[in-house]
Amino acid sequence: MESIGVLMVCPMNSYLEHELEKRFNLFRFWTVPEKSAFLATNKNSIRAVVGNSSAGADAELIEVLPKLEIVASFSVGLDKIDLAKCKEKGIRVTNTPDVLTDDVADLAIGLMLAVLRKLCESDRYVRSGKWKKGDYRLTTKFTGKKVGIIGLGRIGMAVAKRAEAFSCPISYYSRTEKPEIKYKYYPGVVELAANCDILVVACSLTEETLHIINREVIDALGPKGVLINVGRGPHVDEPELVSALVERRLGGAGLDVFEHEPEVPEELFGLDNVVLLPHVGSGTVETRQAMADLVIGNLEAHFLNRPLLTPVV
């Protein structure tokens, strides 16, 4: 299989790179100075693209790779892949579901605790050397808070299960109500936001869910409400979110994703009611290895004419 060209569109994982290099002819797209020339030269040998949450395979890239057979994403999110185009051209698409569900859900709860209990702010305070006895600043209790989840897929359900252990009543919004689920369903995001203390974005990014967190939702969540985003940056109207946080119209936010990563609005840096993470939802040694193994497994399966492990298209 060494002659099969695999185009990795951005750096994501050195273990994955090494394993792909052993099996395929790996092209590291980010090291190429003249991308159009490179594609023109190599287009007939590239039969697979490996992308992630930052970059995938848009229509433009797909069009210039006539021999493209499969796009394997090192992520569960598919928003960087033109799925319609892939379907149209018979290109297979795989992602990395399930293996990262726990980590993302753990992080969502970790963000809730960090925001409400001001863990990062406490840590800064102690490190500043300013801790004096008799400092009785109170933080916000987490147990029993109402948690509203947007998107009750694998990640949403995992967040719910964890939050329940903290006695949090769970409610949710999704495209359709799930009658077998015991949590309270709200048919609209604004209504969900108005009826919870902590709102978690756990759905996939599509045209419908772009800016699903807008001014109206933020207002409904309110000055005591907290937004947790472990989905995608574009789920949130970021300028609206920033002004709501700065003006204290929203109580707080725990954000793992942003509209223009790695750029993060600097107005947030001085706030003590936000926690800002550099897209680490699936960022553990264990999970990234499992994700890499899935990418490799899917590519091998495809080129050996075996059933794909985690196909989307």
């Binding site: 750096p11 726990d102 980590d103 753990d106 992080l107 709860i109 970790g110 963000l111 605790l113 960090a114 209990r117 863990l119 990062c120 406490s122 840590d123 800064r124 305070y125 102690v126 490190r127 050397g129 801790w131 004096k132 006895k133 008799g134 400092d135 009785y136 600043r137 109170l138 933080t139 916000t140 209790k141 987490f142 147990t143 029993g144 299960k161 964890r162 329940e164 252990a165 903290f166 006695s167 990563e261 790695p262 750029e263 993060v264 600097e266 840096f269 926690v275 800002l276 993470l277 550099p278 897209h279 680490v280 960022g283 553990t284 040694v285 264990e286 999970t287 990234r288």
Partner: protein
């Protein structure tokens, strides 16, 4: 002090007094909750007299004292309170009370166990996730503008599937264990005695627990037996990837040895709300990214404090009405 007495209204001077040597945090923040038709507070800290003289002059008939970590009830203090029958603390911990002396003299003790369990457990889990997933460190990274410059942050370690050893399975420990189960952790524990109704594997020593755990969460009380119970030997058994979280009392851990282990990379990380000599924190910790520090406030929420103050008042009102105490500390 004299001013205070003049300000008290005539009626309240008939009420039994509750001595407060230094105000516990709940009193400082929620004094309105302590206004009762059944007792009045005798505030020693408002006097310019040295404490022993104040007690000798004014506390001779005091039957109850409200204390805190900042105003320990030692045998010496008890000696100056000949009418003392009740010691109340607004904390869960009772390590600042000479329980042996109280027991000897038949003095009852009440604490505020139970009302802090949820908040303490929430913070313990929050600290564990923070250390394993580098939440505070990564937040610093972003705020320092390093994400666009240095790229992706270092990978953390998955919580699910970890073996977490809970030291002390009382109110805090049980609440922590219940939460950890939902993350797919395997819960193990050590406590003074095995608890038969509990589904978690029991380890009779902390050393054995540490050897078999990926993380340790300290949830027990500070006693003569538990002082410096977590020492270098235990930490080395926990290992290079091991994480320790302490929401109990700083002195349960040999702090000097723990700092050495952390600095040398002999354990993986620590989440610490309590320290041996608060508010002093070993400065070597400030430079470590695998440590998360908190200024002894894992139970500091309005809900906890209101509940604690209500429990204190409830115990005092019961005592002065000759009714059963709400949360007596049972001597073992």
């Amino acid at each position: 002090m004299e001013n205070h007495q003049e300000r008290s209204d005539h009626r309240s001077q008939d009420l039994p007094q509750v001595l407060v040597i230094k105000p516990p945090p709940v009193l400082t923040l929620f004094e309105d909750k302590f206004i009762s038709s059944k007792f009045q507070l005798l505030k020693a800290w408002e006097s310019t007299l040295p404490l022993d003289q104040f007690l000798t002059n004014y506390a001779g008939s005091v039957r109850a004292v409200l204390c805190s970590g900042a105003s320990p009830i030692t045998a010496d203090i008890i000696r100056l309170l000949p009418s003392l029958q009740l010691v109340i603390t607004a904390s869960a911990g009772v390590n600042h009370i000479d329980l042996t002396e109280c027991r000897r003299l038949g003095i009852a003790v009440t604490n505020a166990a139970g009302v802090f369990s949820d908040d303490g457990a929430d913070a313990a889990v929050g600290l564990l996730i923070d250390v394993l997933r580098k939440v505070s460190a990564a937040d610093r990274y972003v705020r320092n503008g390093l994400w666009p410059v240095k790229g992706d942050y270092a990978l953390g370690s998955k919580l699910g599937g970890k073996r977490v050893g809970v030291v002390g399975l009382g109110g805090f420990g049980s609440a922590v264990a219940k939460r950890l189960e939902a993350f797919g952790c395997t819960v193990l524990y050590n406590s003074r005695t095995q608890k038969p109704s509990v589904p978690y594997p029991f380890y009779s020593t902390v050393l054995e627990l540490a050897a078999d755990s990926d993380s340790l969460i300290i949830c027990c009380g500070l006693t003569a037996e538990t002082r410096h119970m977590i020492n270098r030997e235990v930490l080395l058994a926990l290992g290079k990837q091991g994480v320790i979280v302490n929401i109990a009392r700083g002195a349960i851990i040999n702090e000097k040895e723990m700092v050495e282990c952390l600095v040398r990379g002999e354990i993986g990380g620590a989440g610490l709300d309590v320290f041996e000599n608060e508010p002093n924190v070993p400065e070597e910790l400030f430079g470590l990214d695998n440590v998360v520090l908190s200024p002894h406030r894992v139970v500091f929420t309005p809900e906890s404090f209101v509940a604690a103050s209500e429990l204190v008042v409830g115990n005092l009102e019961a005592f002065f009405s000759n009714k059963p105490l709400l949360s007596p500390v049972i001597y073992e």
